[in-house]
């Protein structure tokens, strides 16, 4: 296992070199987070479909339990149970629009992952950086459990557990646990845990920061320890269900799935489950007693339990919905944690937007009205006074606005419109609007995927490393 140990040291050193200005040492955080012998136990796998390029290249890397789809190069990296999902990468012949530029693509875009260690991380979407339109790079970077790198080329950075970087080019940054950053471009920043920052320069700027003591109850990450708190316990308590589906080669879900919908073979579905037309359930999603109306989706690492989604619902990567009823077209952002209970149901009215990384953990019945925006930490109805506003009122903001721990500057209308446009884009990409001939998306294209597995050296100096593998049509 010597080569794997050396590879780990190399990645740590490269990340630290980039983070020296922030005086941040990733080593004590990740040194024993995943024992190296764990990295030998799991196979990696990749998807084959006629809809996506098959262009994979793995060199001097460990890929334990990770999934690949599309075009991807991995070099000198450790990817542990991560999803590298390339079904939204740009394609050759397309046009990338950025401000007044229209940039033609001469080749398929691909992931380039080098000198990085990703733990249970989701990598998805496409590079939004106009300077690297055909290359979605992740280099010299370390990410902890359930981080999301979404449309965000990243270099020399560290992402804590449940951190998300979305549509942002990032260089030499530390993103604290459960922080969500969507800010176009950032560099040399150390972001505290529980920061939710959405900025479109010249248009709007939204910032919410969790109270640290209360956030610790949900997620806490310190040196020499695994991530702790409600969020990690919630996920870990259900991991056995995933182990069962990963151990078996052939698996039929005990659930009826319409021809227009997709329930991934690597998702967990525990009856009673209702899958309607145009529904997308991605790998590593967890459904238990869940009702999904037409065009709803559950993306990677989502949990939907004892809940009903009326339709056209976006449940973004890592969101968790427990004992809740969501009206039509409710958007639940990345890694949000919505938990009602048998005696304290949570309902969210149609077309409401739950901001990424929102926690609603109520011990009393709670109803969010139609068309509202909610954010931050909500543990009871009284918190709605500071963490909820109607979208129509929000759209009227033009200038500075502060409510509770949330600050906003700019045009509210622009903010609301940007979210609505994005929700429509996600629904379209997921195939929620498919009418039998038009608007085919992931729900229809991902129905028939073949999965091949690959494995590392089982022993010797190269134990844990995968041989160099090039996979092409």
């Amino acid at each position: 296992m010597k080569a794997l140990e050396n590879l780990f040291d190399r990645i740590v050193q490269r990340a630290n070199i980039n983070l020296r200005e922030l005086a941040y040492d990733v080593n004590p955080y990740i040194r024993n987070l995943i024992p190296l012998n764990q990295m030998v136990k799991f196979y990696a796998f990749y998807g084959i479909t006629p809809h996506h390029p098959l262009d994979l290249e793995f060199r001097h890397s460990n890929l334990a339990g990770s999934y690949f789809l599309g075009k991807c190069r991995v070099n000198n990296s450790i990817l542990y149970k991560s999803d590298i999902r390339g079904d939204e990468l740009k394609k050759a012949g397309g046009m990338f629009k950025y401000q007044d530029f229209e940039i033609p693509l001469s080749q398929d875009e691909g992931f380039e992952i080098e000198d990085s260690f990703l733990i249970k991380t989701l990598v998805h979407n496409y590079s939004h950086d106009p300077e690297t339109i055909e290359k979605f790079f992740i280099t010299n970077t370390v990410s902890a459990h359930y981080a999301n790198i979404h449309g965000s080329p990243t270099d020399g950075s560290f992402l804590g557990p449940f951190a998300t970087v979305d549509l942002t080019t990032m260089n030499d940054c530390v993103i604290g646990a459960f922080s969500y950053i969507q800010a176009s471009e950032i560099g040399h920043l150390k972001i505290d845990p529980g920061t939710v920052w959405v900025r479109s320069p010249g248009h709007f700027n939204f910032l919410y920061r969790y109270p640290h003591e209360q956030l610790r109850h949900y997620i806490h990450f310190t040196t020499g320890q695994r991530p702790q708190g409600v969020l990690i316990d919630f996920v870990e308590n259900r991991k056995e269900a995933f182990q069962r589906i990963f151990e078996r080669v052939n698996l039929e879900h005990p659930v009826a799935v319409p021809k227009t919908a997709s329930l991934d073979r690597f998702a967990v579905a525990i009856p009673d489950i209702r899958i309607s037309d145009n529904v997308l359930v991605s790998q590593r999603a967890f459904l238990q007693n869940a009702w999904l109306g037409k065009g709803a989706n559950a993306q990677e690492n989502c949990f939907i339990i004892n809940s009903r989604l009326e339709g056209l619902n976006v449940t973004a990567h890592g969101a968790k919905i427990v004992q809740a009823d969501l009206g039509k077209k409710v958007f639940v952002g990345f890694n949000s944690f919505l938990r009602g209970g048998p005696n304290c149901p949570l309902t969210i009215g149609q077309e409401s937007i739950v901001m990424p990384h929102t926690i609603i953990d109520t011990k009393e019945p709670m109803a969010i009205p139609d068309g509202h925006l909610v954010w931050g930490l909500i543990t009871g109805r009284e918190d709605l006074a500071t963490n909820c506003i109607s979208l129509s009122d929000f759209a009227k903001i033009n200038g500075p606005f502060a409510r509770g721990r949330m600050f906003f500057e700019g045009q509210g209308e622009s903010f609301v419109e940007a979210f609505r446009n994005r929700i429509d884009h996600i629904l379209e990409a997921n195939g929620a609007f498919y009418d039998g001939t038009r608007y085919k998306g992931h729900a229809q294209k991902n129905q028939n995927i073949s999965f091949n597995t690959i494995q590392p050296y089982p022993e010797g100096d190269l134990e844990g490393l995968y041989p160099t593998i090039v996979i092409q049509p």
């Binding site: 800010a183 920043l189 920052w197 900025r199 320069p201 700027n205 910032l207 920061r209 500075p400 502060a402 509770g404 721990r405 600050f407 500057e409």
Partner: protein, 185 residues
Amino acid sequence: MKAYTVKDLMVPLSEYATVPVGSTLFEAVLALEKAQEEFDHTKYRHRGVLIMDQDNRVIGKLSHMDALRALEPTEDQTNGIKDLIHFGFSNKFVSDLRKQERLKAAPLSDLCQKTSALKVEDFMRATAEAELIDHEASLDIAIHQLVLGNHLSLLVTQNETAIGILRIADVFAAVFHTMKECETN
């Protein structure tokens, strides 16, 4: 022309306002008033209180500015407005929010309660290496150290023990006196 040294100009520690660590802001202000009453051989007033540890060593200083700052809303009370600039918010936005928060906090409305609750160690400035000067140092060195560090006073030491305070007012008076000597000669 007299060659001043630091010990010629310093105020001995015994004449300066001091309070032990654990004192309240109100006790610090009382100590400052008392020291001023007993120290009347100059028109310049004391502008700070020294904080002493259990072994009677100087561990920090509390200036007028520190005392006023202690009455301001804390970062906890303002939800971290101070940092908003780092997230791309405009100066005007941050400035307006600060004003609003200050009005809400109304620091003078419960002054009595606050001054008896605030502990000096929570808002004193710890003594830094650059604020120490040996009692035998020359006036030139003292001026250089005051100007370079933008200090209003320096802590005078002898064998690493604090023995007095060198105030910028006393240094300026010595310089002014020397200038006048030049003119006379």
